[in-house]
Symmetry: none
Subunit: 249 residues, 2 copies
DNA sequence: TCAAATGTTGCAAATTATTGCAAAAAATAG
DNA sequence: CTATTTTTTGCAATAATTTGCAACATTTGA
């Protein structure tokens, strides 16, 4: 087997599987590990792969978190925010939770919109204050260091005083069977209260969070009304969720 | 599994769910907790995540940046903040208002201090959340776009539930005869309530604000107990205030 | 305050890399 | 085709990295 031929095979393998192990290649190509190592080195020098200890990775594997405004999956979140904003009408009372997607909604909110927002998230509140016409009401309480939101029974009691038309809720994990799940109990309590009070709950989730689970359940999918992702509503990946009767936009 | 591959998975998990536990990762990736801990350390060194005890957090949750050069009379405010902090003791309940001096207090708060803060200011609350040991309670309500604090009767009612040991109040204008004055009526109402509830009120003011007046009176100087400026307590400029019986530090 | 959980450090075993070298293979010139 | 040079390959010794473990320190929460 020629050297070029071998390297072509290696490159193909890397691109198909996103990773290769030195030992596997050595076996498959029937050459010593030293030879494979030298081949990988050459391919890496030619910028075709990413060499790591023990093997190599495809270059597309590592495109994470460069610019992107420091926010993970920023593009997707902007698409979701735009879809969510299309649901807003002047005069609405809207409950809005924390998370970077909701932050993005607050950021790109059309200036002429007159909506009253109710929130427990410090970051979201900060951003909403930049808006010229909308009002913001913050539900106070003990603040959670990790989620940066108000938590505790007092918050739930306060939420009872509102009957919002809409609730924009950021997802942590969503699964067709398990429903909406969270990792933080305090957040679960707040989210449940928010959902219960709202006439309509809109769940915002990037596609990457679909079919993932955490340990604590917030609610089943039938407790919410609309699901927004960055995907086209007819995307097959959303089929399991459509089946549960969710409106998908 | 390759080391880089594992770290990429961890990074993805953190970015999707905002928070991961060491123990969960160890189980999911089938490596020892030591290895996960080392991976988290490397990702944190590369500024990709925020390592905390027991796991890690996404960086996009921690975007609050404090720019000291944006703050007028920054040096003076740091001196005032240090003096104010010297009054704090473990276990105290402290009411703290908004303004850049209070923000500076929150920023340079000694890490080992265990104080419970109550505030109506979004910025102050945000900064206090960065502190490892102190608790923060936010009094919610309608938010004022200009002052970025909760305002309204509801806030006053909530304040009644607290009996703080200390109140750190940022000054807008202070004068030996006129007392403390403000330009914003909503702020006046809140400040009065804060002073009334607290066992001791500490007024924080840069020397520049001494002998200035605004149109709305908050209270006379005999309603407060301590005055902190960046000046030496024996400075002659403070004489008129000492006469009113204020403690000056 | 104490007990439990988490973090730190040093260490040894296993794995992977690097280097130099000699034999094999391929390329080149005569 | 042969002799010579160049490249490639495998091997061995050595170095570096990774990993899990255990002892010890620190932090946390009751």
């Amino acid at each position: 087997m020629l050297k070029k031929e071998r390297q072509a095979l290696i490159l193909r393998e890397v691109n198909i599987h996103n990773k290769v192990l030195l030992s596997d290649l050595s076996t498959k190509l029937e050459v010593s590990e030293d030879t494979v190592r030298r081949d990988l080195q050459e391919l890496a020098d030619a910028q075709k792969i990413l060499k790591v200890r023990g093997g190599a990775l495809s270059k597309s594997y590592h495109v994470y978190s460069y610019k992107e405004r420091d926010i993970y999956a920023y593009q997707s979140k902007t698409i979701i925010a735009r879809k969510a904003i299309s649901l807003l009408r002047d005069g609405m009372l809207v409950l809005i939770s924390g998370g970077s997607t909701n932050l993005e909604i607050a950021r790109i909110l059309p200036p002429e919109l007159r909506v009253t927002f109710v929130t427990v998230s410090l970051s979201t509140a900060m951003q909403l204050l930049e808006h010229p016409k909308s009002e913001t009401i913050f539900i106070g309480g003990q603040l959670s260091k990790s989620a940066k939101i108000s938590v505790g029974g007092e918050v739930v009691a306060q939420l009872n005083h509102f009957r919002p038309d809409l609730c924009f809720m950021g997802a942590n994990a969503i699964d067709a069977e398990e429903g909406i799940t969270e990792s933080d109990w305090e957040v679960v309590v707040i989210k449940r209260a928010m959902i219960q009070q709202s006439a309509k709950t809109v769940l915002l989730s990037i596609a990457e969070k679909l079919n993932t689970r955490q340990k604590l359940r917030v609610c089943n999918l039938d407790s919410i009304h609309t699901l927004i992702t960055e995907l086209d509503p007819v995307n097959p990946a959303l089929e399991p969720y459509r089946k549960t009767g969710l409106t998908i936009i």
